[in-house]
């Protein structure tokens, strides 16, 4: 099952409050989705993810197809059972990862031939194959198989690729007929306004239950993403969820929401955590640095998470310097908590018609990198 409710629209911005219902429960948006690439959100257990109020997590089709294999996950009863997560799961189509392999893949009309980044073995993923994998995974929200052009890319190439993505979306839809899983179409078009417009126009004709904005976070400057949103989201259907793929710093969330995005995902919070860097209300802090060797304050004095209530910067720095697993566990937990709490604050601000004030207060305190 899949249901979408538009609960509230902001008056001065495109920001909106929505509720998405799947067979594994409901999601309130705007929401940040932690990424569990290999059927695990790095360093986190499923009950910790629930404790920090993760409403939905993401998993990667490409990685799970290669290892441990989608057939194995199907035997386990699907991804929910396999990883012990009973709330919603969204899977990508594998397209983004396959296209990132650059010289190890060949794109044809029928699909993409590529070699595994793990062992060089040969593989083929088509729109149909991507849907079959995602069916085996049993995620609640699945993505159509798209081509994600690099940045920068010639307009003519982006247009050709966009047209193929449309044909692939139709094939994805056909393969997903009669499925309980909700298939999202992906808007492409690079940094070209008329191509994004064309993509929205043609993709929405297929009447998907939701739409993603793809082809971002591929190396372009942040301003380009915001520009794309500025001319793309207003023409997207209001009565469908909007998901900005692979984007999700705190400032990205604020800007995305401002332009009307509902869903975000990014590996960044757990990736920087592994390098000893954490979010605070004042900006990012590299707790690994010698400055914090004798700092007995919590990571973020404004934070009420389990980590900030129990551990100090000095202790976490010690753990990270000594390569102790608990160090990365604590920074990962805190960073994801920060993002989910931040999503919650954004929802509250929209509810109370104070989103613009909230955004301004954030920038006054949070030092951008």
């Amino acid at each position: 099952m899949f249901d979408f409710e538009l609960l509230k629209e902001s008056k001065k911005t495109e920001a909106r409050l929505t509720k998405i219902t799947t067979s594994h429960g409901s999601i309130e948006t705007p929401i940040f989705m932690p990424v569990g690439t290999q059927a695990t959100v790095k360093a986190m257990s499923s009950r910790e993810l629930k404790e920090i109020n993760s409403q939905i997590i993401l998993a990667n089709t490409y990685h799970l197809y290669l290892r441990p294999g989608d057939e194995l996950i199907k035997k386990a009863g699907g991804l929910h059972d396999f990883m012990s997560w009973d709330l919603p799961i969204l899977t990508d189509s594998g397209g983004f990862q396959v296209f990132s392999l650059s010289d190890m893949r060949e794109i044809k009309e029928e699909g993409v031939y590529f070699r595994s980044h793990l062992d060089g073995s040969k593989h083929f993923i088509s729109p149909e194959k991507s849907m079959q994998i995602q069916k085996n995974l049993g995620s609640d929200i699945v993505m159509a198989f798209d081509e994600c052009p690099p940045y920068p890319a010639e307009k003519s190439y982006v247009e050709k690729s966009l047209n193929r993505t449309l044909r692939w979306a139709e094939r994805s839809k056909k393969e997903m007929e009669n499925s309980e899983q909700a298939l999202f179409g992906i808007i492409q078009g690079g940094v070209y306004p008329e191509l994004r417009k064309k993509s929205v126009k043609e993709m929405t004709k297929l009447n998907f239950p939701g739409y993603s904005i793809g082809g971002v976070s591929v190396g372009e400057p942040k301003e380009e993403i915001y520009k794309i949103l500025d001319y793309t989201t207003p023409i997207m259907p209001k009565d469908k969820p909007r998901y900005l793929m692979g984007v999700g710093t705190p400032e990205d969330l604020l800007e995305g929401v401002y332009y009307g995005i509902d869903m975000f995902d990014c590996v960044m919070p757990t990736r920087i955590a592994r390098h000893g860097q954490v979010f605070t209300a004042e900006g990012r802090l590299t707790v690994r640095n010698a400055t914090y060797a004798e700092d007995f304050n919590p990571l973020d004095p404004d934070c009420d998470c389990y980590v900030c209530q129990n551990y100090s910067r000095a202790y976490i720095r010690h753990l990270i310097k000594r390569n102790e697993i608990l160090g990365v566990r604590l920074t990962s937990y805190h960073n994801l908590y920060f993002m989910l709490k931040f999503s919650e604050k954004i929802r509250k601000a929209i509810k109370e018609d104070s989103f613009l004030d909230f955004r301004e207060e954030f920038y006054q305190k949070y030092k951008l990198k």
Copy 2:
């Protein structure tokens, strides 16, 4: 504060049930103590340690002295505050680690000169210094500074070393005068019965609140340890706790308890966990092996821990093969739970006068490696 109660003695063996009280709470023995070498039990959070009923944990003086430094830990309010653990902590004296450095250290009557295994820097630890470090750490139970001879070692060397350990025990005691921390004397003597006897006789004259058996788990066959216990524990004071240092497989616990040991510690449960190996009621299982790729059973079908209630062998194998932190978290959690639950079962068996039956049943099911 420190208090010891002998609650029950087994009739047919030396096994006993005791209660040790420290200023951070009470411990029921026989007990396995998880090892938190660098102020963290590897891969575990403090609340997980509580959840699996860890009554007391161990930390290493040598490692903490080097990094992050005992002075820093003192500033943090001691080890309990630093690592967010409010139950009892036992620290070793640093002796074992220093003597393991072999060619990087020189033993003199005043103490040991050595080079750090981390950066080669020069250091000196004496009995007084070891006590000062342990005071800074603020552990509840501290160990006297001893010399731990290697195995094999000539009797004449072991005797010389034993005498030095006695002189160092006196100096340790003097340095710890007026401390709230409970100082344990360490019984040495290698594999020589009369030296062990001499050590017990002389060490108990110093009237420590507890005694450890050291100089084991240094490369000798298991049978040697059990022989040592057979002739050593019966002559140790009944009204003091007995701690067998660095020993702690399931079978070691059973045999140690049989011979009258109360406390055990070992890095083994977390170390094998990092290599994808776990305890089950039937013996050790290497979940990393291909055999378990599609095995959707829990690690140990007889186990009621969080891991076994929620995750399968196939999933944990996948995580470990992919070097995902959660994999090691789950195997570590399960192995420590196994050891603590096993300690609890041993206590119950002693209470119910069925320890010998319990021991026999264990060996019938558990395949030794």
